[in-house]
Amino acid sequence: MALLLENGAVVTDPWTVLDDAAGSDGIPEGPVIVSLERWQRDRAVLELRNAPLGIRLKSHQLAGEIAADLDRFGLVVLELPKFRDGRAFSTARLLRERYGFTGEIRATGAMIPDQFLFLVRCGVSSVEVPDNADLAVWRHALTEITIAYQAAATADEPLSLLRRRLSP
Amino acid sequence: MASKAITANRVQDGVTIWVGPDENWVERIADAAVFDDVSAETVLRAVKARGGTGFVVDPYVIEVTTNREGPFPVRYREQIRARGPSVRSDLGLAIDRRPA
């Protein structure tokens, strides 16, 4: 998997995904990502760690479920099981606009490049794409459309009427 | 055993096509190749494998009968695909695909 930032840059992923089945004593050092279920089960142990914690939400696990705990997380990973499943777009906006989350929001799963700009506008800050993905196509998808007709989670330059210019 | 043909639409222009002799695509169903059940499935798999990069859209097997002109679809839906809309015979579309 390659990790693309909202500005199109490729970065190395510092996070490790913690398997739900792995025991509490086997948690590696450094930043780890846990499932919502694991967080709910092992919260006491996880909170004692002295490294950043990320949480991974399935598409039906909505923003409200982690709202109260958001200050514990440096990363929220949103799964798109199918590109047609658009719940993550609402989840990302709610995390940013309703709950004021300022950490990284990462989208992963079955996305298509043409969704990249929408994800970013909803507040997603990185996407995980397959190793064989054409990164030029993904990057290009961020710049194809420069006008929007509605406010969203990211900053933009207001124009007249409902229009706004998206900053690249 | 029922007679079968294989149909699809061409990616470039959407035109309705059928698998002809030598597995080339033809634009008249009368020129289509007729298969038995088993060989139709084999050819369909081959077509899907070969067409994976995007030459045809949605290939599938249909039932046909054979008349003087050649093969012709059994189902009404496929007859309309072969001849064009029943309400627009004036389009000059596939007039020569009509059954004898």
Binding site: L62, F83, R84, D85, G86, R87, F89, S90, T91, R93, E97, I112, D114, L117, F118, L119, C122, D134, V137, H140, E144, I145, T146, I147, A148, Y149, Q150, A151, A152, L159, S160, L161, L162, R163 | N9, R10, V11, Q12, D13, G14, V15, T16, G52, T53, G54, F55, V57, D58, R75, Y76, R77, I80, R81, G84, P85, S86, V87, R88, L91, L93
Partner: protein
């Protein structure tokens, strides 16, 4: 012939450089996607959602392009461009749908980006005419013209068009989402059979607000929309829609395509629970960022300023020369004219249902001719109606005779608007890959049965709606007579309902008995009409007779002795 310049008075949202930049960017984006598809780097599965978001379907005969006619408003220039596209890129005709869209049926994928570019040049597009997103917002075909209008719905339809366009949060909804708005006492936009229906109205102080309905829709599980809110202030329109869509996006079903529309969520949650979620969400997002600024409303309203009506045109309908020597003109006047708010003007409906013709089809030559007539008689403005007809919204009453004379030679003077042969029919199996049965030929056969002089006028108001499958694109549930095509072991059969209606007090029709064969349908309709003519009371339209006497007398006539 055409009065150049008159079009500058057409009530249409005019693109500026920003809108133009957007729509051309969108064309080039699609050009890139098509190139990737033709090169084979995109599979059909990957390409499908991209082409659908630009209105490009794959249908029975290949690609079909569905072009948005936002809230049904077209200028002469745009209609001429549609004619040009029909001629150059298609087979010389187009098909107007029940959702104020136009479909071309013979599109080449390689040419689709060029077509979108041709559209962009005249401020048009095909964005979101398909896909699981907010579709083309529809409204009253007499918006800005109707005598009974309270609020001009075009202003808000345009605002919603902009808000929904490439909305980053609501482009991958559980299923498609249709919004309709009316601003008149008479609902000509069928707001109660849409995912969201809005009735614009005025408060005691004259301020604009909306009554909101939710969860209406036809398809395989028809529902009439339920009242969600009685009064939504103008400034909250977009925030409230955001709230509805967000609730739907999060909780709408995604496990079963047939249960994914918001009507099922409303049904399963119950209206009070749905309302509570929407109101909770709305309470959190109302605020300056999502508030609809009255200055924006005013600026968009300017695009829809009334054309410069001639004060001297006043010739009240009563004194109109009805040319008694030409009864055909009288018939046409009776069916085709709608009262206009400006004295001396009329709204004119042009029937696209010639006897024996294809409902909603128009040739390129007819498009050009009707565009010229709009330029000459209606400030360069046309409308497309929910019933698949065209409208010239602002015609001087003293020009009606000339207009009628000009419509005859181009085959557009059929005097049947609102009558039994003004049939709504989906494309059916002749064009559609989802259809079970044909639907157009039935419309042709039924029209022919009632083509005698005065016959339709005697029957009066009667809507027939035909769908070639359960998806109900022909709105059969709400036809006074509804006809639904069903495939029975490879044979086309048709289920008949009666008593459905749209508009204020919308109702779903009731099935009269077992499905009938293709060549029996027109006879069944004749029998239904015969019962009505026997039973009706003075001034009672068909649908009221059905409501009064029930379906049984009709079933008995059609099937013999009642079961």
């Amino acid at each position: 012939m055409t009065h150049l310049g008159s079009e500058s008075h057409a009530g249409v949202y005019r693109y500026d450089d920003v809108d133009r930049q957007f729509v051309f960017e969108r064309v080039e984006q699609f050009r890139g996607q098509v190139a990737r598809r033709l090169a084979g780097t995109l599979s059909e599965d990957e390409f499908k959602p991209l082409r659908l978001m630009n209105g490009l379907y794959h249908q029975l005969h290949g690609y079909m392009l569905r072009i948005a006619i936002p809230y049904g408003v077209l200028t002469s220039r745009q209609m001429h461009r549609l004619a040009r596209i029909a001629r150059i890129y298609d087979r010389g005709y187009g098909h107007f749908t029940t959702r104020q869209n136009l479909q071309f049926n013979w599109i080449k994928l390689a040419e689709a980006p060029d077509i979108l570019r041709e559209l962009a040049e005249v401020d048009m597009h095909a964005i979101q005419t398909s896909g699981n997103c907010v579709r083309n917002v529809t409204t009253d075909q007499f918006a800005g013209a109707a005598a009974d209008e309270v609020v001009d719905p075009r202003v808000y339809a345009e605002i919603m068009r902009q808000w929904s366009t490439l909305n980053p949060e609501f482009s991958y909804l559980p299923r498609k989402f249709k919004i309709a708005i009316t601003g008149s006492l008479t609902d000509r936009a069928a707001i109660e059979v849409h995912d969201v229906g809005l009735r614009a109205k005025r408060g005691p102080d004259g301020a604009v607000g909306f009554e909101v309905f939710v969860g209406g829709g036809l398809g395989r599980t028809p529902f009439i929309g339920k009242p969600l809110r009685d009064w939504l202030p103008e400034a909250d329109l977009l925030a409230y829609l955001d709230a509805i869509l967000r609730v739907y996006n999060q909780w709408g079903r995604r496990d079963n395509i047939y249960k994914a529309r918001i009507k099922i969520l409303v049904h399963e949650l119950g209206l009070p629970a749905l309302r509570e979620r929407v109101e909770q969400e709305f309470a959190q997002i109302r605020g300056p960022r999502y508030r609809l600024d009255p200055e924006i409303v005013a600026a968009i309203n300017d695009h829809f300023a009334a054309p410069p009506f001639a004060e001297a045109a006043v010739s009240v309908s009563g004194s109109l020369d009805r040319h008694p020597e030409l009864p055909a003109f009288g018939h046409w006047l009776e069916t085709s004219i709608t009262a206009h708010r400006q004295p001396g003007y009329a709204g004119v409906t042009i029937s696209l249902k010639p006897i024996g013709g294809i409902p909603g089809d128009l040739t390129a030559d007819q498009m050009d001719a009707v565009a010229d007539l709009a330029a000459r008689y209606s400030f360069g403005e046309l409308r497309v109606s929910h019933a698949q007809n065209l409208v010239l919204p602002h015609v001087r009453e003293d020009a009606l005779f000339d207009l009628w004379q000009a419509l005859g030679p181009i085959g557009l003077a059929t005097a049947n608007v609102g009558l039994i042969s003004d049939i709504i029919a989906c494309p059916g199996l002749d064009y559609c890959s989802l259809a079970n049965t044909r639907s157009i030929p039935l419309a042709q056969q039924i029209g022919a049965r009632f083509s005698g002089p005065g016959e339709q006028q005697n029957i009066g108001d009667l809507s027939i709606k035909i769908s070639g499958c359960i998806n109900a694109c022909g709105h059969h549930h709400v036809g006074n007579i509804g006809i639904l095509g069903v495939d029975k072991h490879g044979v086309e059969t048709f289920q008949i309902t009666i008593g459905g209606k749209v508009g204020t007090g919308a109702a779903l029709g009731a099935v009269i008995g077992p499905a009938v064969a293709f060549d029996q349908v027109a006879t069944v309709v004749e029998n239904l009409v015969a019962v009505y003519l026997e039973q009706r009371q003075a001034g009672e339209p068909f649908v009221d007779t059905v409501a009064r006497i029930g379906t049984r007398p009709f079933s008995e006539k059609v099937y013999g002795i009642a079961a």
